[in-house]
C-alpha cells in the first residue's frame, strides 16, 4: 500500500490557519478576547509568511487535488490580508456594541481556512469542501449578533446559500457524470477527446455557474446581498465583500477557465448574467440612502466587472482578475474600515449624515474619500488600473459590447461614489455628529490600504510582474 501523497510543506498556509482556529476555539476559556484577536492576527501573519515562502515552488498534495501554485498563493495573500483587516476593524465594532464572544475570531479563521482551501483546490470535490467550510463560517458570522437584523440576515443567507450549494453540487455531479473525472485536468482531457455527453456537461456547467454566481452575487442571484451585507456586523460584511468574493471568483476562474472552456452553453448565459449584474448593481446603488447598503450594491457591480475576466482567455484574464481583486480588496476593506469606525450602530449610516465630516474628522474623511474615488475608477488610483486590465482582457477576447456597457455603467457609479465625497468635503454638518471609534489598529489598516491603493495605481507593475504568468500556468 502506497502512503497518501501528502506534502506537508504545500499545506502549511492552510494548516497554520486551521491550527490557529483550533487554538482560538479552545483558548477563550483561559485568556482574554484581546489575546485571542492577537493570536489570530499572528496566525494569519505566519500563514502569510508561509504563503510567500512557497512562491514559485508549485508544490502539490493529494495527487494534484491540492496545488500551491502561484495562482493559489497570490489569491491566498489577498484572503489573508482581508482577514487581518477584518480582525483589526472588528475591534472598533467591539467599542460600539459591547463584546463579541471570542469565538468570533475562531469562526472567522475557519472561514478563511475554507477560502484558502478553495483557491488551492484543483479538484471539484476539494473545491466543494472549501466552498462549504467558507460558507458555513460566514453564515455563523453573519448571525453573530443578538440583533434582529443580524439574525434575519444569517438565516436568509443560510437558507438561500444552502439552496445554491445544492445546485452547485448537482452541477458537479453532472460534470462528473459527463466526463468521469473530478480533477480539473481530467475534465479538460475528457472534454478534449470525447464530447459525447456534451448536453449533460453543458447543463452541469450552467448549474456550477449558478452556484458560484450566487456566492459572488451575480444578478439575478444577488437578492440576498443587500440584506445580508447590511444586516451582518460591519467587520463581517467587510470580509464577505472582499474575501468570500475573491475566493469564489478564484474557483470560478479555475473551473471555467481551465476545465470547461471548450464546453458550449455557459458563455452566453454568463454574458447575460454579467450584463444584468452591471446594470442592476450600479443602478440600484444609485438609489440607496444607507451608506452600507450602497456599498453592498456597489459590490454587486464590482462582481460584474470581475465577471468579465471569467469570460476572457486565462492568460490575460487571470492576472487582470487577480489585480482587480487585490485593488478591490484594498479599496473596499479600507472603505468598510472607515464605515465601521464612524457607525453608531451596525446598521451603518445614512449617506446624508456624512455631511461635513471633512471638517470634523479630516483623517477619516480623507481616507474614505480616497477609497471611494478609487472605487469609482478614477486614475491614477488602483481601481482604474484594475478596470483597465479587465476591460483590455475582455476586449481582446472580443466582448466589445460588454466592455462598452461596463464603461457606461462605471460612469454611473461615479455618481454614487462621489456624492458621499462631496457631502463630506463640500457641505456643512447638519447638527448630527458621527462618532469616531477608530483604534490605532484600524487606523493602521486604513493607512496601509491607502498606500496600497495609490501604489498599485501608480506602479501597477509591482503586482503584475509577479503574477503575469499565473494564467499561462493554467492554460498549459
Amino acid at each position: 500500500m502506497t502512503p497518501p501523497d501528502v506534502n506537508v510543506l504545500s499545506l502549511m498556509p492552510v494548516l497554520v490557519v486551521l491550527l490557529t482556529a483550533v487554538f482560538a476555539t479552545v483558548l477563550p476559556f483561559y485568556t482574554t478576547r484581546r489575546g485571542i484577536a492577537g493570536l489570530c492576527s499572528m496566525g494569519l501573519v505566519v500563514a502569510l509568511g508561509w504563503t510567500v515562502a512557497l512562491w514559485n515552488q508549485r508544490l502539490s498534495s493529494f495527487g494534484g487535488s491540492y496545488v500551491a501554485d502561484n495562482f493559489a498563493l497570490a489569491f491566498s495573500v489577498i484572503l489573508i490580508l482581508a482577514g487581518i483587516a477584518a480582525i483589526a476593524s472588528s475591534a472598533d465594532g467591539i467599542v460600539r456594541s459591547g463584546s463579541f464572544p471570542a469565538e468570533f475570531f475562531a469562526v472567522m479563521l475557519y472561514a478563511i481556512c475554507g477560502t484558502m482551501l478553495l483557491v488551492h483546490a484543483r479538484d471539484l470535490i476539494v473545491m466543494l469542501i472549501g466552498f462549504e467550510v467558507m460558507s458555513l463560517g460566514v453564515y455563523i458570522l453573519t448571525a453573530f449578533q443578538a440583533r434582529q437584523q443580524s439574525e434575519e440576515a444569517g438565516m436568509k443567507y443560510f437558507l438561500l446559500g444552502s439552496f445554491a450549494s445544492a445546485i452547485l453540487i448537482f452541477g458537479i455531479a453532472l460534470v462528473f457524470g459527463g466526463t468521469g473525472s473530478f480533477a480539473l485536468e481530467g475534465i479538460r482531457a475528457a472534454l478534449a477527446v470525447a464530447p459525447a455527453n456534451a448536453p449533460i456537461v453543458a447543463v452541469g456547467a450552467l448549474f456550477i455557474l449558478i452556484g458560484f454566481g450566487f456566492k459572488v452575487a451575480f444578478a439575478p442571484f444577488h437578492q440576498w446581498t443587500p440584506d445580508v451585507y447590511s444586516g451582518a456586523p460591519i467587520a463581517v460584511t467587510q470580509y464577505m465583500s472582499v474575501g468570500v468574493k475573491a475566493a469564489a471568483f478564484a474557483g470560478m476562474l479555475k473551473i471555467f477557465g481551465e476545465a470547461l472552456p471548450s464546453v458550449g452553453g455557459w458563455q452566453t448565459p454568463a454574458q447575460f448574467l454579467i450584463a444584468l449584474t452591471l446594470m442592476i448593481g450600479n443602478l440600484a446603488a444609485l438609489r440607496q440612502t444607507n451608506f452600507k447598503r450602497m456599498l453592498a450594491y456597489s459590490s454587486i457591480a464590482h462582481a460584474g466587472y470581475i465577471g468579465l475576466a471569467v469570460l476572457s482567455s486565462p492568460a490575460q484574464a487571470y492576472p487582470a482578475a487577480l489585480f482587480y481583486l487585490a485593488a478591490y480588496a484594498l479599496m473596499n476593506a479600507g472603505a468598510f474600515a472607515v464605515l465601521n469606525s464612524i457607525s453608531p450602530s451596525d446598521d451603518g449610516i445614512k449617506v446624508d449624515s456624512l455631511a461635513g465630516l471633512g471638517s470634523r474628522n479630516p483623517f477619516l474623511a480623507a481616507m474614505l474619500a480616497l477609497f471611494l474615488i478609487a472605487l469609482a475608477g478614477v486614475p491614477p488610483l488602483a481601481g482604474f488600473m484594475g478596470k483597465y486590465m479587465i476591460f483590455a482582457g475582455a476586449a481582446q477576447s472580443g466582448f466589445y459590447g460588454l466592455v462598452i456597457l461596463a464603461a457606461l455603467t462605471s460612469a454611473v457609479s461615479l455618481y454614487y461614489y462621489l456624492r458621499p465625497v462631496a457631502l463630506m468635503w463640500f457641505t456643512e454638518a447638519k447638527g448630527f455628529a458621527l462618532p469616531d471609534l477608530s483604534s490605532g489598529m484600524s487606523r493602521a489598516v486604513m493607512v496601509v490600504c491607502a498606500i496600497g491603493v495609490v501604489l498599485l495605481g501608480v506602479l501597477p507593475s509591482l503586482v503584475t510582474n509577479l503574477v503575469s504568468t499565473i494564467g499561462v500556468f493554467a492554460s498549459r
Binding site: 474615488i373 469609482a376 478614477v378 486614475p379 491614477p380 482604474f384 488600473m385 483597465y388 486590465m389 476591460f391 483590455a392 476586449a395 481582446q396 466589445y400 466592455v403 462598452i404 464603461a407 457606461l408 462605471s410 460612469a411 461615479l414 455618481y415 462621489l418 456624492r419 462631496a422 468635503w425 463640500f426 457641505t427 501597477p460 507593475s461 503584475t464 510582474n465 503575469s468
Partner: protein
C-alpha cells in the same frame, strides 16, 4: 531618460505635497514661487531648442500589456505648456491678495492640477494620456467643491459625469485601437503605424469614442452644458476659472490624437465635424449675448472660442490647424485674464455694496452685468486694460487673438467655404456681446466710483497685457513652434487622402 521634462511636469505636484507642510500663512507665497520655478524650467526647455525627441522619456509602465510611461514635447505641447506654466503663478499670485485664511487648500489643489495639465500635453502613450486627462478631474472637482458657490455640488456632479462618461468611452476606443491595429504598445507612434489597416466602419466608431471625450472637454455642442455651471459656481476670484480654462484640452486632444489616428474618418465626414464646430462657435456667441452674469458670459464666450478652435482643427488645413493651436494657446492667456478681471470687478462691487462674499445674493449682485455702470470715470487704467483684453478676445488685429481666428477662418474657407461663411458671423456676434457688456460696465453714466488698479493688480495684469500685445504684432516665435508639428500632421492627412 531625460529629467528636465519630468521635473517640469511633476514639480508642481511635489510642491503641492510639500506645501502641506508649509504654514498656512506662507503657503500662497510658496505656491507662487514653485509656479515661477516651474515656468523657469519650461523656458529652459524652450531656449535649449526642442530637437527631435531630445526631452523624451519612454519606460515600461505595465510591461506585457504594452503600457508605457512615455512623455515628450514638441512645439505644440511646449507652447501650451508654457502658457499653463505662466498663467498658474499669475493666478495664484492674484489669489494671495484675496486670501482670507480659508484658501489654504486652494494652492496645493491648483498646483496638482497644473501637473495634470502639463502631463496631458506631454503624454505620448494613450493610457498615460488618459490617466492625466481624467486624473486632473479630481483636483478640479475639489477646487469647485471646496471654494465654489451654493449650487456647486450640482455643478461638479454635472461636470464629473460629462467628463467621465466621455472619458470612459475614449478608454474603450483606446483599447480597441490598440487591439484592432495590432500595435504592441499604446505609444502614439506605434498606433499610428498600424491604424490604417483597420476597416473604415470600425475606425468611425473608434473615432467617435475619442470625439465624445474631447467634445466634452473642448467643449463642443451638445456636450457643453457643464461649462456654464462650472464657471458660474466657481470661486469668485476667477482663479479656479483660470485653471478650468487651461484644462479645456479637447482641441489639443483632437489635434494630437483623434485626427492623426483617424485621418480617413476626419476627411470623409469632414463637413459634419466642421458644421458641429461652426455651430458651437455661433451658438456660444449667441447665448453669451443673453447672459446677465459676468462669469456665464465668459463661459459662453469660451464655448464660442473653442468652437473656432475645433473648426480650425477639423479644417485639416495647415493654416487652420496652426490657427487653432495659436488660438487655444493665446485664449489661455487672455480668457483666463478676463476671469481675473471679473474677479477684480467682483471684489470692488462687493465693497461698494458693503456685501458679504459668503452670501449668495451679494455675489449674484456683484457678478451682474450692468448693475454698476460707468467705471471708466473713476478707474481709467482698469478700463483701458479691460478693453484691451476684450478686444483681444474678439480678435481685433494687432492683438493676440487675431492671428489665430484669422488663420482658422482662412483654413476653414479652403476646406468648405459655406461653413466658413457661417463661422465668420461668429466674429461679428462676439464683438456684439463683448462690446455691449463692456459698454454697460465701463461707459454710460457713472453710477458708482471705484478704486483703480492696485499695485498687485498691476503686477498681475502687466505681463498678460505685454504678451497679448507682443504676440499680436509679432507672433513668429509661437508660429515657429507650431509650424513643424502642423506640417507633420498635414503630411499624415495628405497621405490618407491618396
Amino acid at each position: 531618460m531625460n529629467w528636465v521634462l519630468n521635473a517640469f511636469i511633476f514639480l508642481p505636484l511635489v510642491a503641492a505635497l510639500l506645501s502641506l507642510a508649509v504654514p498656512k500663512a506662507a503657503r500662497g507665497k510658496f505656491a507662487v514661487f514653485a509656479g515661477i520655478a516651474n515656468l523657469a524650467i519650461g523656458v529652459y526647455i524652450w531656449l535649449s531648442g526642442i530637437a527631435f525627441d531630445k526631452f523624451s522619456t519612454v519606460i515600461d509602465w505595465l510591461p506585457g500589456l504594452g503600457v508605457k510611461y512615455a512623455v515628450s514635447t514638441d512645439g505644440v505641447s511646449l507652447l501650451l505648456s508654457l502658457v499653463t506654466a505662466l498663467m498658474v503663478p499669475i493666478g495664484l499670485y492674484y489669489l494671495t491678495s484675496r486670501d482670507d485664511g480659508k484658501l489654504s487648500a486652494f494652492y496645493p489643489l491648483a498646483l496638482a492640477m497644473e501637473t495634470g495639465i502639463l502631463g496631458i500635453f506631454a503624454a505620448r502613450d494613450l493610457i498615460l494620456f488618459y490617466v492625466f486627462f481624467e486624473g486632473t478631474l479630481i483636483p478640479s472637482l475639489f477646487l469647485l467643491g471646496r471654494y465654489g458657490r451654493a449650487a456647486r455640488v450640482q455643478a461638479l456632479t454635472t461636470m464629473a459625469l460629462y467628463t467621465v462618461f466621455g472619458g470612459l468611452l475614449m478608454l474603450v476606443s483606446i483599447i480597441g485601437t490598440k487591439l484592432l491595429s495590432g500595435s504592441p504598445t499604446f505609444l502614439l507612434e506605434d498606433l499610428l503605424r498600424g491604424v490604417r489597416q483597420i476597416p473604415e466602419w470600425q475606425q468611425v466608431w473608434l473615432f467617435l469614442g475619442f470625439l465624445v471625450a474631447f467634445a466634452v472637454k473642448t467643449p463642443l455642442f451638445p456636450m457643453h452644458a457643464w461649462l456654464p455651471e462650472f464657471h458660474g459656481q466657481n470661486h469668485p476670484s476667477g482663479v479656479a476659472d483660470l485653471m478650468g480654462t487651461l484644462y479645456k484640452v479637447g482641441g489639443y486632444g483632437l489635434f494630437r490624437f483623434a485626427l492623426p489616428l483617424f485621418p480617413d474618418v476626419a476627411n470623409n465626414y469632414q463637413w459634419i465635424w466642421m458644421l458641429l464646430a461652426a455651430f458651437t462657435a455661433i451658438y456660444g456667441a449667441w447665448i453669451a449675448f443673453a447672459q446677465t452674469d459676468f462669469k456665464r458670459l465668459l463661459a459662453y464666450s469660451g464655448i464660442s472660442h473653442m468652437g473656432l478652435v475645433a473648426l480650425g482643427v477639423f479644417s485639416l488645413h495647415p493654416a487652420g490647424s496652426s490657427g487653432a493651436i495659436l488660438l487655444l494657446a493665446f485664449q489661455g492667456i487672455y480668457s483666463s485674464a478676463l476671469f481675473l478681471v471679473v474677479g477684480m470687478l467682483e471684489r470692488r462691487f462687493i465693497v461698494l455694496e458693503g456685501g458679504d462674499e459668503s452670501k449668495e445674493k451679494a455675489l449674484d449682485r456683484a457678478l451682474e452685468i450692468g448693475r454698476v455702470r460707468g467705471l471708466a470715470a473713476s478707474a481709467p487704467a482698469f478700463a483701458g486694460v479691460a478693453l484691451l483684453l476684450w478686444f483681444a478676445s474678439i480678435g481685433v488685429p494687432g492683438l493676440a487673438g487675431f492671428i489665430g481666428e484669422y488663420s482658422i477662418l482662412l483654413g476653414a474657407y479652403q476646406a468648405n467655404p459655406w461653413i466658413a461663411a457661417i463661422a465668420v458671423t461668429t466674429v461679428i456676434a462676439s464683438a456684439a456681446f463683448a462690446l455691449t457688456a463692456y459698454q454697460k460696465t465701463w461707459y454710460e453714466e457713472a453710477t458708482h466710483s471705484v478704486a483703480d488698479l492696485s499695485r498687485r493688480e498691476w503686477t498681475v495684469l502687466v505681463p498678460i497685457v505685454a504678451l497679448v500685445v507682443l504676440f499680436g504684432v509679432y507672433s513668429a516665435p509661437a508660429l515657429e513652434l507650431v509650424k513643424p508639428v502642423v506640417a507633420q500632421l498635414y503630411g499624415i492627412v495628405l497621405e490618407a487622402k491618396k
